[in-house]
Every structure is written in C-alpha cells, then in structure tokens.
C-alpha cells in the first residue's frame, strides 16, 4: 500500500512538472504511457505487439544494446528487447532522470526524441567505452548523458551551448566528437571533443578548407577519416543550401579534404531531420524521409544502390537502428498515434534494388568532359580556320598602298589605277586596262609595254610580300584571240 501511494505521488509530481512544458496532446499520450507502466512489468515478458501498444506519441528512443539486445528508452523506464526472440522486458531507471530532460527547449515538444543517441562500441574491454554504454547528446551540444547499467546520468560539467544543433556526433578512438551544426543563426563546421576528465567540450583546430557549415550530415568513419555528405550550409541570415560535395576529415592529421561531386540523383533528394542512416559492413545505408527510397552507398567502390523502401523505414521518423543485420524500426500509425516495432532482415534488401549508379563523379565524368571539350575545341578551330581563310583573301586598296591585316606594299599611280579597276569587277578585258595607259602622241605599243611592265612589277612585288600573284592573264572564254586580266581567285579586293 505504501509503495503504491509513493508511486502515485511520484506520478502526480511528474505530471504537474510536465504540464508546464508539453502540449496538451502529448501530455495526454505521456500520461497513458506512465499509467500503463504503473503495472509492474519486471517479471513479465512483453511481446512485440504489447510494447508497440505502449509506445504512444513520439517521445521514445531506440538505442543499441549489447549482443542481440537493444533498448527503447522512455521517460519512465526502458524496454530491453531481444532482436532474435522479439521479446521485451520493462525496467525502471535506477536513478531519476536528469532534470534537464524535462526542460528541453527545442522545436520538438518532447524531450527524448530530441536527444542524439550514440552507441559507443569498442573491441577493447579495457577501454573507456563498451557496447553497453550509450551516449545521449542534448540538442545544440554541451549537455551529455550516459545510458549505462539501467540509468541515465549526466556526465558533463558543461552547459547547454545551443551552438551545434544537428551536427555530426561521433566517436573516434574512444573519444566523443561533435562536428558542425547550426546555432546562432548560421551553420558551423567547428570540431569539438568531449574531455572526460574535465567534463567540458574542447574546441579542436582543423586544417584545410572546411565546408561553410555542416547541418544534418550523413557521416561515416572509414579508417582514420570521417566522411560527410548530404548536409546543409546556412551562412548568416541566409537560406540553407545543400552542399553537393563529399568531404572527409582525417582525424589523425585533422585535415579537411574534398572528395568530389555527389551524384545529383542522390543529392537532389530533400533532406530532413528525420533522415536516417546506418553504417553496415563499411557501407552507408541512407533512408530519406521525403520519398520511400533507401540508398546504400559504397564509398570504396564509388557506387550507390537505390532500393524500394519496402520496410517503411521512412515512416519511422528516424527511430531505427541496425542490429546484427536487422533493421529495428518503429513505424508510426498516424491514425491512432501508436508505433509498431518492426524488423527487416537486410539480407533480403538486394531483392528490392531499383538502380545502381556512381556515387561521386569520377574519372568517367572527367574523360567525358575532356572529350566534349576536345570536340568543342576542334569545332572552334574549324570555325576560326574558315574565318581565317576568308580573312586571308581580304586585301585593301588605298590611293597609294595595297595591304591586308599583316602587311602592305606601296603603289605607284599606274599600279593604283589598275588595282582600283579590280575592286569593281574581277575580270577586266585587256583593252579596258590599256585605256589607262594611252597617252596623246604615244603609240599603242608604248601603252601596251607600260601596262605589261606595271602588271609585271605589281605581281612581282606582291608575290614577294604576300606569296602569290595578284593579277592573272587569261584568254577570253568566247573569243580566244582576246586577252583578259583576272584577279587571283584567292584574293578579295576592297577599296579603303
């Protein structure tokens, strides 16, 4: 009786606190959960359906556990589930939840779902971490909690920094890092590391050109490098921009490197905070909320596979984990606000492949561009050659010189008179040219000699400078006894 009264008192106190911070609807849901959990469940194994019925609303987290086990954290306790038997047990937390859990100020109306969970696994049992520890990060960075041995405890001595919302929370060599995030009206690409001794987050200086900001990235650790992609940049007071590149941060040298442009068919998809990704056998499995598609990204072989989302992962709202090759996910039923815990064996995923493409543009795109550029260059050269051929025929005549764009020869008055005739027509009968040289009191033979001398001299000098004759002597087509003078067909004359 005393125990029941104590529990009732705790419930009333808890629900009074909640009233201040949660909406009416969610509060109603939470009450139901808490009421349901008043029944002592520790001794009773729960089926998958029973647990599903108890997960009302959004305020729970699925996190990894040791071996075949996983945990579903709620505010009043946690379900320990077995991924093989699909049987659960409910346990209350050994210690009360930290007070910050009830005063989270995020866009979400509830608290647990806003936390970023990170399971830290290590092969070394001597190390600081083991598979049983799950770290939960407060939105925006700063406050850090550890779910271990049946209780959630705060492990930092920091404060709610609100500077790194939606950053990349990851572990490397038994250390916790938070990279990038959004805060104070712009995205950041800063790297902070949690110091387990002091309980503070330390700023880590990186080298190279980092992205302008990193918000909601997909990331995976390969060897010593953290690979990031599909994230938003949001410079000060500007709208968010999707960064189309793959980036890597070498955690040994702390140097940023760009890795190439990501396939637009992947990056073109919208990214929301509900997107989920898993690291499986060195590949990254990505689920997009906006469309029922699952992508498997193979960074080593530069491939991306697109699968149909047969297992409704997009309905999980990001509440899913991969355990021993099985996706454990909550699928939300929007009609009654309940969640079903579902399991999907990843060995079946190949049956739903839709397409396979390259992940980042690589050598093939480079070669294609080069071939295209080469063809364009050849077309430009042909165009210029044709243009140059036309240009090379162009010569200009002034009163005392004949020239093109490169060179010129001076003309005496007789030569100028002859040349000017050719600016009007290309073939001129001999008699028309002869008229120019006729003088009163002089014989026709004199005029002929002067004409011949003038044309010969002109051709000689022109050939010396431009490499070809300008005037060609030919017989008339109609009367072969008549002689005509024609302009070389490789020359166009213009009067200037």
């Amino acid at each position: 009786m005393i125990r029941l009264l104590f529990v009732l008192f705790c419930f009333l106190a808890f629900s009074q606190e909640e009233k201040r911070i949660v909406s009416e609807k969610v509060q109603e849901g939470l009450k139901k959960v808490v009421l349901a959990e008043l029944i002592p469940l520790n001794q009773k194994a729960l089926s998958n359906e029973e647990v599903s019925r108890r997960l009302i609303g959004d305020d729970f987290l699925i996190v990894n556990g040791p071996g075949n086990y996983f945990n579903i954290l709620t505010k009043s306790g946690y379900f320990l589930g077995n991924s093989k038997t699909k049987v659960f047990n409910f346990f209350r937390y050994k210690n009360p939840l930290p007070s910050e859990f009830l005063s989270l100020q995020t866009s979400a109306t509830t608290s647990l779902q806003a936390l970023v969970p990170l399971t830290v696994s290590s092969e070394s049992q001597r190390s600081q971490f083991n598979q049983r520890r799950v770290y939960l990060l407060y939105p925006g960075g700063g406050l850090l909690y550890e779910f271990f041995n049946g209780s959630i405890n705060r492990v930092d001595s920091s404060f709610a920094q609100r500077n790194q919302y939606a950053g990349a929370f990851f572990s490397y060599k038994n250390q916790l890092y938070l990279l990038g995030g959004y805060g104070f009206w712009k995205t950041k690409s800063i790297l902070t590391k949690f110091n387990f001794n002091s309980g503070d987050w330390e700023y880590i200086q990186t080298k190279g050109v980092a992205p302008d900001g990193i918000s909601n990235p997909i990331f995976t650790m390969k060897e010593n490098s953290l690979y990031l992609f599909d994230f938003f940049e949001r410079p000060q007071n500007q709208s968010p921009i999707k960064n189309p590149n793959l980036y890597s941060l070498n955690m040994e040298t702390l140097t940023w490197k760009k890795g190439g442009l990501i396939n637009p068919s992947f990056i073109g998809e919208k990214n929301t905070s509900g997107d989920r990704f898993f690291n499986i056998n060195g590949n990254v499995l990505v689920n997009k909320m906006e469309s029922p598609r699952v992508f498997e990204i193979d960074l080593d072989n530069n491939k991306i596979k697109k699968y149909a989302d047969n297992f409704l992962l997009y309905k999980s709202g990001g509440k899913s984990i991969v355990k021993n090759g099985i996706i454990i996910s909550s699928v939300r039923n929007t009609s009654n606000n309940t969640n079903s815990i579902t399991y999907y064996d990843l060995s079946d995923i190949d049956k739903s492949v839709i397409s396979e493409e390259y992940f980042i543009r690589g050598s093939i795109s480079f070669v294609n561009y080069l071939i295209g550029g080469g063809i364009a260059l050849i077309i430009i050269l042909i165009f210029l050659w044709l243009s140059n051929d036309r240009v090379s025929k162009s010569y200009f005549v002034s009163s005392n010189s004949l020239f093109n764009s490169l060179n010129q020869i001076n003309l005496d008055p007789d030569e100028a008179k002859v040349i000017l005739l050719f600016t009007k027509k290309e073939i001129i009968p001999n008699k028309e040219i002869l008229v120019l040289f006729e003088e009163k009191g002089k014989t026709k033979d004199f005029a002929t000699k002067r004409k011949n001398k003038t044309i010969e001299s002109l051709n000689k000098r022109f050939k010396r400078v431009f490499g070809k004759n300008i005037i060609v002597k030919e017989k008339d087509e109609l009367d072969s006894r008549l002689t005509n003078y024609a302009l070389n067909n490789k020359i166009n004359l213009f009067e200037k």
């Binding site: 590149n245 480079f366 561009y369 260059l377 050269l381 162009s394 200009f396 764009s405 490169l406």
Partner: protein, 308 residues
Amino acid sequence: MFDPITDRSSHRLNATRSGGLAMFFTFCVCYGVGKATGLIDINLYALLCFCLIALIGVGDDLFNLKYREKFFLQVFAGIVLLQSGYMIDSFHGIFGIEALPYAVSVAISLFVFIVVVNSLNLIDGIDGLASLLSLKFFFVMGAILSVSSKEMELVVPAVAGALVGFLAYNFNPNKKVFLGDTGSLLLGSVMAFFIFYTLKSSSFIVTDGYMSRPLFVILLLIYPLADTLRAFVIRVYKKQSPFVADRIHLHHRLLNKGISHWRASVTILISSISVLLVGFLLSQVFPLEVTVMILFVYLSILYYTVFK
C-alpha cells in the same frame, strides 16, 4: 583604346585593345546570372582580385603603366587572392616535400601568381595565341571542376564562351580586336586562381590517380612558362632588362619563318596539347623523375623541329 601601329606591330589597320574589357564584362554578366540562379559561386576575394587585375589592365591599356607600377599592383591583387584561402599549401611530394609552412606557402603562391599573370601577358604577341592556349587550359580545368566543384564548374564555359567570341574578332582584319593587357592579365589571374585550387591539398583533383599535381599544372601551362623562362634567361644573358619588349619569343621565331599568325598559334596549341598528352601517358608508365626526363627530351625535339 586603339593599339598604335609601330615597327613591332603586326597589324596595318586600326585595332582596339578592348577584347579583355569585353571579356571581363561578359564574365561579370555570366557570374551575375549564375550567382542569382545559384549555379555559380566563387570566393569573393578571388572575384575582387579579378576586378583589381582587370582595373590594372585597363589602366595599362589606357595609360601604359610602368612595369614597376604594374608589378606592385599585381602583388597587391595576388595578396587579395590569397585571402580566399586558395594557395599552394603543399608540394605534393616534389623534392620529398608535402605540406608547406604558411609563410612559405604565401610566398610561393604569390610568386606563382606573378609568373602566371605575366607569362600570359608576354605570350600575347600574335593573334589568337594567348586565347587558344587559355581555351585549352579552361577546357581541361573544366573537366577537373566538373568532378570536384559544382559551384565553379560553370565559370569555365563562361570564360571559354567569352574567349570564342573574342577570337572571332581577333582574326577579323576589318574589326580587329586585341586582348590588351586587360584580357591577358585577367586570363592570367583566373588561371592562377584555378592553379591554386588545383594545388591546394584539400581540393579533390581527379587526376591524382594518374599523375602528379604539380607536373599536371606545369604541363597545362607549358608554353607560357617555357617561353617566359626562355625570354627571361636570354635577356639576362644579354645583360638587358628582363622586362623589355622585344621579338625573341618562340612565336616570333615562327613568324620569322614566314608562318601566318593563325598557323603559328595553332602549331603552338597542338604542340602544347601534345606535351600534356605525352606527360599524361608517361605518368602511367614511369615514375615522376623518369617522366620529367623523357618530357625534357620530347620538349627538346619539339623545339628543334618546330621552333628552330
């Protein structure tokens, strides 16, 4: 902006030096449209550098600046460009050196900037040469950027398009237009920026798997660099100022053989493409040192068969 007809001039008709300015305006319009539609994004310091260089070029075209003044202004523009964060921060294994200290990196980047900008200016002595070699550079760089930088890949078509438009007028005897200092300096500065991008260790360069980055960059600019170095050495050897204008460039040798500007430019373009291809193929087979040695032999053969 008319180019005066002097003894060193190759043209006999009035021609303007406005090609570079037209290219700059074309680039500005393309960038404006690209930026507004979110297709192009270049670092603001780089843009500022291009504008400064274009201004220096316009000043030189209008008032014939002294080379000391030009040099000082170019150094200033180079420092602005380095603020973009793009600089040569690594030797990528050449001489066994990888990452460079910041001060060394700045000094080398500034030196490379001055060399590239002025080498483009120096080879702009015959019709089409600087533009055709720039086209080659931008087509290759476009391929690099198409893989590694979506925000800058459209810069290449913008510049190449402006160059093609210019080339049509460059070979037109009636309406002849030269690049002028505005154009050659601007092209040089844009090239220098992309070289910094390529040599920056954090950039993803798709050719890394095939050849050394510094060798790739040198082969891309082989003619401007080789010609500038050769002219510089000859002038110093003759105890002349290395900045004096003369007719000792390799392209002048081709003109002296009676080859037209068009043929000379295309010959040099094809030669420089062949050097890049040979370097690329050799890099697949030989280590860097052997590749460089064989390339020297190939360059010597080219020199004696084409230019001698």
